[in-house]
């Protein structure tokens, strides 16, 4: 059972364009939604995260939009740059037993930003 569905699998954007990656979740108990960025040969790195008490969070060129009723959240990368080319993973977690912050990940989106 895939609890976090991510789309698209791959995305090609021109430099300066907007990259949009979408995720949908099933478990309404999820209450923490991070996005991770992974470059080849490296581990994923936390990019930005949101809690469901807000509908949007912006950090520089990166914005998360959150729709609690639709159980969807998305990552928007404004003014995309070739250096943004990487694999992006959405994730979700819920407190379990008060201490288990296990993340459930989407399958990832390979973003290529052409110069």
């Amino acid at each position: 059972q895939q609890q976090v569905k991510q789309s698209p699998q791959s995305l090609i954007v021109q430099k300066g364009g907007i990259s949009i990656i979408n995720c949908a979740y099933e478990n309404t108990a999820f209450d923490y939604f991070p996005w991770y960025q992974q470059f080849p040969g490296k581990g994923p790195a936390l990019l930005i995260a949101i809690r469901p008490d807000v509908s949007e969070k912006k950090e520089g060129r990166f914005t998360i939009s959150f729709n609690k009723s639709a159980k969807q959240f998305s990552l928007h990368i404004m003014d995309s740059q070739p250096g943004d080319s990487a694999t992006y993973f959405c994730a979700a977690s819920k407190p379990s037993g008060g201490s288990n912050y296990k993340l459930t990940f989407g399958k990832g989106t390979l973003l290529t930003v052409n110069p």
């Binding site: 581990g43 201490s99 459930t104 990832g108």
Partner: protein, 112 residues
Amino acid sequence: GAGVSQSPSNKVTEKGKDVELRCDPISGHTALYWYRQRLGQGLEFLIYFQGNSAPDKSGLPSDRFSAERTGESVSTLTIQRTQQEDSAVYLCASSLNYYGYTFGSGTRLTVV
């Protein structure tokens, strides 16, 4: 250390051999996680350690997989009688609190 350290970075082993992967978490991080990433796939949860609590082993794919952690320090993931389908990148992460993991760079395991 400054980050999560994993060793070895690459491991090639023959089918049927046992392998041991090591993770050094960030000092003071109470939680430690192992994930598996197959080529072109997402991250698959394997096991979670939190302090002295019993580990959450719900993601281990078979009894060939086991992991240990000494207190809040080093963890080892052991795969016995390796199979070709075990080939993947094994990622370790540690965290202090609710907000985000820090991942290591992973161990790329190739079973030939």
